[in-house]
């Protein structure tokens, strides 16, 4: 357990993570388990009781969730509660320990709760399918490389949802309860809370296993829908993953292309050509995927594709204002420093350092960004290889 004493923030925050092998078939069931663990327990067996208990404990907040990290499935529990001195409530620490105990050790798993969670998840998935941006993202990731962890839809699927049984959830819950976890906390903790947390079987987080993407012939998908604005997502293989020393190069390239406020895609596609309101880029660090996402009229998608190609070629030849690199690095430096003001981000940074098996000072974090050269960026850009593209377009406006 890593507890960071900190008097700066008003809240205490803890994060508990369990690491398990990522298995695509189980993702929907893990989602269901996460959602039903967060709203009831054996003692607080109705939504009403759970809600009252949380508010009476000073607005105690907790959240269960799952995510993928390389080949691992991470089940994450996060809780936050205001420090006792701000709330002046009787038996405050006992109430916090009670809620932690209930949500972590006393889940209520029965058919009624399962059916409620199944209904809510089904409708959430259906709502998500209506969102062109989400649909484009999911399809682009799904098709970027068959059987790669990044192609697993971590939201789950409607088909799998129909078949999950209570026994499946009990089985996954049993796995979770046997699995050691890693605990991180930031704040000023009552000894009773620490004693409770110490009761868990713990182990340091597993080192990250990265699976770089392989090149493939680009898979292009077009989905027509009765919508008024189209969405397109492209995915590229960069060959750089977060365990590589060269990873800051991908961070800088991503910022330069579309993740920072002074980015080339924003400048060229939006500002110079007025093709869209939104364009941006992102990375999936454990596999070195770089993605580009845009919302625009379908009639302009071909022009946008051409402009993206041109930008990538220009960057790979170093044909861009070198001062942009300074501006992007400035923004990354600011992000590094800003983490100091967020207990959640500080905890996440500690966790990430552990799985990447590194220990960096603030100065070293900045130095890694500063060390990236134009030559590094050119080289990384020249190696980008288009893996997939999905365009969700307005009906009757398909431009291919």
């Amino acid at each position: 357990m890593e507890i960071f004493e900190n008097s700066k923030f008003l809240e205490n925050v803890i994060t508990i993570r369990w690491s398990l092998p990522l298995n695509a078939e189980d993702v929907t069931a893990w989602n269901l388990l996460s959602s039903l663990r967060g709203v009831r327990s054996r003692k607080y067996d109705t939504l009403q009781k759970w809600t009252y208990a949380c508010t009476q404990a000073g607005g105690f907040r907790s959240r269960w969730g799952i995510s993928s990290f390389g080949s691992q499935l991470l089940v994450t529990f996060q809780a936050a509660w205001l420090k006792e001195k701000w709330m002046n409530l009787d038996h405050y620490s006992q109430k916090i320990v009670d809620l932690l105990e209930q949500t972590l050790n006393e889940p209520l798993l029965n058919e009624d709760v399962l059916e409620e969670s199944r209904f809510l998840m089904r409708e959430a998935l259906m709502y998500r399918q209506s969102n062109p941006g989400a649909a484009a993202m999911e399809t682009a990731l799904k098709t970027c490389q068959k059987d790669h962890p990044v192609s697993v839809n971590m939201h789950g699927s409607l088909e799998a949802l129909k078949t999950v049984t209570l026994k499946d959830l009990q089985s996954l819950n049993g796995l979770l309860e046997k699995q050691p976890c890693s605990i991180y906390g930031m704040g000023e903790f009552d000894p009773a809370v620490l004693k409770f947390l110490n009761g868990f079987v713990q182990q340091p987080p597993e080192p990250l296993s990265c699976f770089p993407l392989q090149t493939q012939e680009a898979v292009r998908t077009v989905i027509e829908k009765p919508i008024v604005q189209s969405s397109m997502v492209q995915t590229y293989q960069s060959g750089i993953v977060s365990t590589d020393d060269a990873y800051p190069v991908l961070q800088v390239l991503n910022g330069l292309l579309g993740a920072c406020q002074s980015s080339i895609l924003f400048d060229v596609v939006r500002e110079q050509h007025g093709c869209c309101y939104y364009i941006g880029s992102f990375v999936v660090e454990s596999c070195g995927l770089l993605g580009i996402s845009v919302q625009a009229d379908a009639g302009r998608l071909d022009e946008i594709r051409r402009l993206i190609r041109q930008v990538l070629e220009d960057v790979s030849r170093g044909e861009f204002d070198p001062h942009l690199l300074v501006l992007v690095k400035n923004e990354l430096h600011d992000q590094i420093d800003s983490i100091e003001d967020s207990p959640r981000h500080l905890i996440n940074r500690q966790f990430k350092d552990k799985v990447l098996q590194r220990s960096l000072t603030l100065e070293q974090r900045h130095q890694r960004i500063d060390n990236v050269t134009i030559e590094d960026v050119k080289k990384a850009a020249s190696r980008l290889h288009l893996l997939s593209e999905c365009a969700v377009v307005q009906e009757d406006k398909k431009d291919e």
Binding site: L10, Y52, Y277, E331, S338
Partner: protein, 423 residues
């Protein structure tokens, strides 16, 4: 907060010689600084009386101007701010426009750049033209969003004239014909320093920061302190339309129920009434109400949210649900509202604790805090006093208020899946 633990944010205020109000919130030990300048006009400001004359603006003017403001001395100000490890953004609401910068580096230069670019209009016909297609694309992005469209349509149902019924981004024709002169006219009316609020949240010494601001603002004397009176049309007590349906690419219907309430002319009383209304709504439409479980068991909805506000110029409850059976959802929501179930002592106590916790969390969140403080100040109010008034509410006040609510004027909107036969 209490005698042992004073407020974790120290507040320093000053009204400067040019009339600008400055509110600085000191967060000792924090590395970030955020500065926001608020303008008391937004997408709803389509006309005002100035020196006895009526000045008209095209729809979308405030928003179009917001897009154009990020220029200074012919340069894009985002790059200039990036030089100082600073990011920037802005938003336009119905009644305000806010620009903000944030950084973990030394805040003086970014603060001065914010002041310069908001208090200097640097536009040309070319820059206005260049922005047009971007704003039209933004308008389409918004029209794609079923939630946003549902909210807009319920406002169109609730109100005959109140500007919430218009798109903040503007009508297509107005965006297509927006001119440099339109934007200048809006800027001249509303961007005078005497009308602006500058809010800062910083770990720096607030007195030092206030001194920087005072020095800088000497470059921007007030140009006009004329009273501006927005032109409004009296809003009838009745709703504009009872029922409305629209088809979009959704798989599950989105349903909106709007209830038009009586406005409250006294802004302070309006704050208290809004708080009482929200306490009641929370007791009705959250899991604290035992009916909530029955609703989920019967799959009445899979998502439920609401907003409720009473102000001097508009007052309404809007409930939004994702529901397979829209009519059943509407019937049940109407039933539960009209039951006027009072808030129980246990629920009231929980809501008070939640309210206090939510207030404390806002103090830790730069984005929410700057927005809350600035928007309250733009309305002539104080965020901290408003919060205190909310926390001082009694159970009797809440339940007495609920009993006298007039809930007769209601309307509904359904965003329905496309009819496959028609599409």
């Amino acid at each position: 907060m209490n005698e042992k633990n004073p407020l974790p944010v120290k507040v320093v205020r000053k009204t400067l010689d040019n009339g600008m109000q400055v509110i600085l919130l000191h967060k000792p030990g924090f590395v970030r600084s955020l500065f926001m300048i608020g303008i008391p006009a937004g997408g709803g400001n389509l006309a005002e009386i100035k020196q006895g004359k009526q000045v008209q603006h095209p729809s979308g003017c405030a928003h179009y101007l917001e897009h154009q403001m990020f220029r200074l001395n012919g340069e894009d100000v985002t790059s200039v701010l990036s030089e100082h490890r600073t990011q920037c953004n802005a938003w336009t609401s119905l009644d305000s426009t806010c620009y903000f910068v944030w950084t973990s580096a030394s805040p003086r230069e970014p603060l001065e750049i914010l002041i310069d670019f908001v208090q200097t209009l640097d536009i040309t016909p070319e820059t206005v033209e260049k922005e047009r297609s971007i704003i039209l694309a933004e308008q389409q992005d918004e029209r794609q969003d079923p939630d946003r469209q549902g909210v807009l349509e319920i406002y169109r149902s609730l109100y005959h004239h109140y500007p919430a019924r218009n798109e903040i981004v503007g009508e297509t024709e107005d965006i297509r014909s927006m001119t440099e002169q339109d934007l200048r006219s809006f800027y001249d009316a509303w961007y005078d320093p005497s009308r602006l609020i500058l809010t800062g949240i910083t770990g720096e010494d607030p007195h030092k920061v206030m001194h920087w601001i005072e020095q800088k603002q000497k470059e921007y004397p007030a140009r006009s302190r004329d009273k501006l009176t927005p032109v409004t049309t009296a809003e009838p007590d009745t709703v504009h339309r009872k029922h409305f349906q629209k088809q979009m690419d959704v798989q599950i219907p989105l349903v909106f129920l709007g209830i038009k309430l009586k406005t409250e002319p006294d802004p302070q009383k309006a704050i208290v009434k809004t708080a009482a209304l929200n306490y009641w709504m929370s007791s009705l439409l959250s899991p604290m109400n035992q009916d909530f479980q029955t609703w989920l068991d019967s799959q009445l909805f899979s998502d439920l949210s609401w907003e409720a506000e009473i102000t001097p110029d508009h007052a309404a409850i809007v409930i939004e649900g994702q529901a397979q059976d829209p009519q059943a959802f509407l019937d049940e929501m109407r039933r539960v509202l009209k039951s006027r179930m009072p808030v129980s002592p246990q629920t009231f106590e929980s809501l008070q604790i939640s309210s206090k916790a939510s207030y404390l969390r806002t103090l830790e969140d730069y984005d929410s805090l700057s927005e809350e403080v600035t928007c309250a100040a733009l309305k002539g109010q104080d965020f901290f006093e408003n919060s205190r008034a909310v926390q001082d509410l009694t159970l009797k006040q809440v339940n007495d208020f609920v009993m006298q609510l007039d809930l007769q004027e209601d309307c509904d909107v359904m965003i329905l899946p496309q009819d496959k036969n028609e599409s």
